[in-house]
């Protein structure tokens, strides 16, 4: 029914769920979401696989569901990766233009990018993304496309995201074990930001925080390019664990309490209110204090935001976020989290929606699908790039946001 070559699948192996989103390249090149499959995840902690067998089983279920819904066969996926080992930093590369007429050619650009990537990573680390921010030609700042310009000294600012090879390979091997190819791996934070942000917002400067089950990724855009990325291996799981410990209830019960009664700030009405826990027959087992529940949650969530705010402050990026802060990920469903984040960041905070893509609208509104949707978007941009980008740089190359800043090693 569909031409399979135009099917793009994004796979996120998350801590709480495994999610597959299937998109189809539309006639205008923009992807449409045609199917979603998800299954609860059991073999993942803090975004990293700890039990491959269980993950494989869950992955098959999720893939099956997505294939059923989209009525296509998934042959390859764009795989999202995350974990506490993933780091990002900025680096600058330098290249001297040697040609006689001093015109900067595409080769020079490739060379300078190669130089910027030649960095001292720890031995067991490899680059996931190297994103170019902007060029300097003879010290002139803010050049986005130096091809054809005259100059001697070409420099480029890159943002490099890297992680431990073995941990990244674990996920890739697992997916390949199910007879599915991995087109590319993509850092989850980058994927989420692609789904949530529009080009304008990237231009203005924005922070995307994806609070998932086991990890929290954050990505800062400014002037259309990625400036900063980071991962905290803290997420919704930690909230549940705090509750289980603080309220002295089992973890599964804590999870339920979080979903039913959770809030990101302490509601004055919750003072001295108790929540009665009943078993499946409706008999009261015990009760917990609603105020404690909310206080424990708000402290944890506030801490996550504070850690991020602290890191951005250190990087000096706070003043560049004119479009504000965008929240996604399952934990961003906690009531009141927007107000809490506004309080910490002192700026406009918006619950992120996967607005930059079309298709099943019900899926686009779900914050927890942002990463997987972003993976499809990444894939579609990559494929367009592949079709449209022979060695010669066309004008379209620069129209596509993506091409401007993404480079794979």
């Amino acid at each position: 029914m569909f031409d399979d070559s135009k099917v793009i699948a994004g796979l996120e192996i998350g801590t709480s769920k495994i999610c597959v989103v299937v998109g189809q390249q539309g006639p205008d090149g923009a992807p449409n979401i045609i199917g979603i499959g998800q299954f609860r995840s059991r073999g993942v902690r803090k975004g990293e696989i700890v039990n491959p067998e269980q993950v494989e089983e869950d992955l098959r279920s999720a893939l099956f569901e997505a294939e059923q819904m989209a009525d296509v066969e998934i042959r390859s996926v764009y795989l999202g990766v995350t974990g506490g080992h993933v780091r990002g930093f900025n680096n600058r590369g330098l290249h001297t233009v040697v040609s006689a007429d001093r015109e900067i050619t595409e080769d020079d650009i490739q060379d300078v990018i190669k130089n910027a990537k030649a960095i001292n990573l720890p031995a067991d680390n490899s680059v996931i993304h190297a994103v170019r921010q902007h060029f300097f030609v003879d010290g002139q700042d803010g050049v986005t496309n130096p091809a054809g310009m005259l100059g001697q000294r070409l420099e480029v600012e890159m943002h490099v995201i890297h992680g431990q090879v073995n941990r990244l390979q674990n996920a890739i091997r697992l997916v390949r074990g199910t007879q599915i190819e991995v087109d590319e791996i993509v850092f989850n934070g980058v994927a989420s930001s692609l789904a949530v942000l529009t080009g304008d917002q990237k231009e203005m400067g924005a922070l995307v925080i994806d609070i998932g089950g086991g990890t929290t990724e954050f990505v800062v855009y400014s002037d259309g390019a990625i400036r900063h990325t980071g991962v905290l291996a803290v997420g919704g799981d930690h909230v549940s664990n705090d509750l289980a410990y603080g309220l002295k209830v089992p973890l599964s019960r804590a999870e339920k309490l979080k979903l039913e009664h959770g809030a990101a700030s302490v509601d004055p009405a919750a003072k001295n209110r108790t929540i009665t826990i009943t078993n499946e027959l409706g008999l009261a087992l015990n009760s917990v204090n609603a105020e404690h529940l909310q206080r424990i949650m708000s402290l944890r969530l506030e801490e996550i935001f504070q850690l991020i705010a602290g890191e951005l402050e250190q990087a000096g990026l706070v003043n560049y976020l004119r479009a504000g802060v965008f929240l996604c990920g399952g934990t961003s469903r906690v009531p009141g989290i927007v107000a809490l984040a506004e309080n910490v960041f002192q700026m406009n905070v918006v619950p992120g929606k996967a607005s930059a893509i079309g298709g099943l609208t019900s899926a686009l509104d779900q914050p927890e699908f942002a990463t997987a949707i972003g993976l499809v978007k990444y894939g579609s941009l990559k494929q367009r790039q592949r079709v449209k980008r022979p060695p010669i740089v066309s004008a379209d190359f620069f129209k596509g946001m993506f091409n401007r800043f993404t480079q794979r090693p």
């Binding site: 803090k46 905290l232 664990n241 603080g246 424990i296 944890r300 801490e303």
Partner: protein, 405 residues
């Protein structure tokens, strides 16, 4: 065999500031006392107690108390604490009268030998009976000094804990890893001695410079008294515009604090800031906020003082004491002065010539309680999420010391 001018000592007590007497006990104590005898401690009265005539004669303290009987012939106790204890008991009234008039007695000794181990507990008891608060700063011997000294030191430490209001103890062995291999023996002892001296200086600042944010000595003793088994201390200083951040970084980076883990596990933390008049409240706040966050469930006592000479410098002394498994989820008590806000906001904390911190650690007796393991149950098998010394897997409300009831 006893001192001529005890009365003089008693009279040095002034009415406003607490009268402080610093006693050095044994050879090590006397040496430390010499190191302390600087202008900074001018307001304190010094006294040295020893059994060895020759060592006593060499000491520079104005008051010398020699405990002796014919058996010793002025040659010292030969490292026998029991003999010294008996001697001290015999001369209990002398010791007691030497302590008369003091509000605070600081006792400095090296445990493990005869005089230090034998006399210190008795002296502490005498001082308490004389109506003073007693805080002891002691060092424990290096492991290579043999197990006899170690046992003697441990026994004396236990007795001292019973007798004194607070004990801050520095096992020399802990310092071992901080000195490089080529350090001479003399320098090593001077180095460990310096650590104790810096700790005393930090406490001294608290008592002697009733500054902006006061700490009562009794508070300090309450903190230290509850049978803690280890303490660590650090003395750091920084200058320049970023000094408050630098100070915190230095504290967290200090080897004796093990990247802040010691702070996290401690039950009581004392922070003393000192700076010139340019100390701002924001700086105090920044330092305390970081330390507070780092400390988890510890009780915190903080004090700040101003010394015009410390212009542009900020120095912070941190003493962290760890209990042996008293898993109290203590309330965080920070005495940030509400009274001091306006006037204090313009002052700075000066630093002393530092950049060093020290840790005093007594033998940990017991490992982590099962209670702490439950806190991260879901994550206890996974790699800990460490962020600046904090284990983020531990619930936030526990690290911040929130009491749920």
């Amino acid at each position: 065999m006893e001192t001529p001018n005890l009365n003089e000592l008693a009279e040095t007590a002034t009415s406003s500031a607490p009268a402080v007497k610093i006693f050095g006990v044994g050879n090590a104590g006397a040496e430390l006392l010499d190191a302390l005898a600087t202008s900074e401690f001018a307001a304190a009265a010094f006294a040295v107690v020893n059994t060895d005539t020759a060592a006593l004669a060499a000491a520079s303290a104005p008051v010398k108390i020699q405990l002796e009987n014919k058996l010793l012939r002025g040659l010292g106790s030969g490292g026998d604490p029991d003999r010294c204890r008996a001697l001290a008991e015999e001369q209990f009234s002398t010791l007691k009268s030497a302590c008369a008039g003091a509000d605070v007695v600081l006792l400095v000794a090296g445990l493990g030998g005869g005089a230090g181990s034998g006399i210190s507990p008795v002296l502490a008891r005498a001082a308490r009976e004389a109506g003073a608060l007693v805080l002891a700063f002691v060092s424990l011997p290096f492991e290579c000094e043999g197990n006899r000294r170690e046992q003697q030191a441990q026994t004396a430490l236990d007795q001292l804990k019973g007798a004194a209001d607070g004990v801050i103890c520095l096992p020399n062995q802990k310092i071992f890893k901080l000195i490089d291999e080529n350090t001479s023996v003399v320098d090593t002892f001077r180095f460990t001695g310096n650590f104790l001296v810096e700790g005393i200086r930090g406490v001294w600042q608290l008592i002697a410079r009733p500054g902006l944010i006061q700490v009562h000595f009794a508070d300090l003793c309450t903190l230290l008294r509850d049978g803690h088994t280890e303490s660590a201390f650090a003395f750091v200083e920084a200058s320049g515009p970023a000094r408050s951040r630098e100070v915190v970084e230095k504290i967290l980076a200090h080897p004796l604090f093990e990247e802040g883990r010691v702070l996290m596990e401690s039950d009581a933390v004392l922070v003393s800031l000192k700076s010139g008049r340019d100390l701002t409240m924001a700086e105090v706040n920044r330092v305390m906020e970081k330390i507070n966050r780092q400390c988890g469930r510890a009780k915190i006592i903080m004090g700040a003082s101003v010394d015009p000479e410390f212009k542009n410098r900020l120095c912070v002394t941190v003493i962290a004491a760890k209990g042996h498994g008293s898993a109290q989820s203590g309330t965080v008590r920070t005495e940030t002065g509400t009274t001091a806000t306006a006037s204090a906001s313009r002052r700075s904390v000066a630093l002393e010539p530092a950049g060093r911190k020290r840790a005093v650690i007594k033998k940990p007796v017991q490992g982590q309680l099962p209670l702490n393991i439950i806190a991260k149950s879901r994550f206890d098998k996974s790699e800990p999420t460490l962020h600046r010394g904090e284990d983020l897997d531990v619930p936030t409300f526990i690290r911040r010391g929130l009491a749920l009831n």
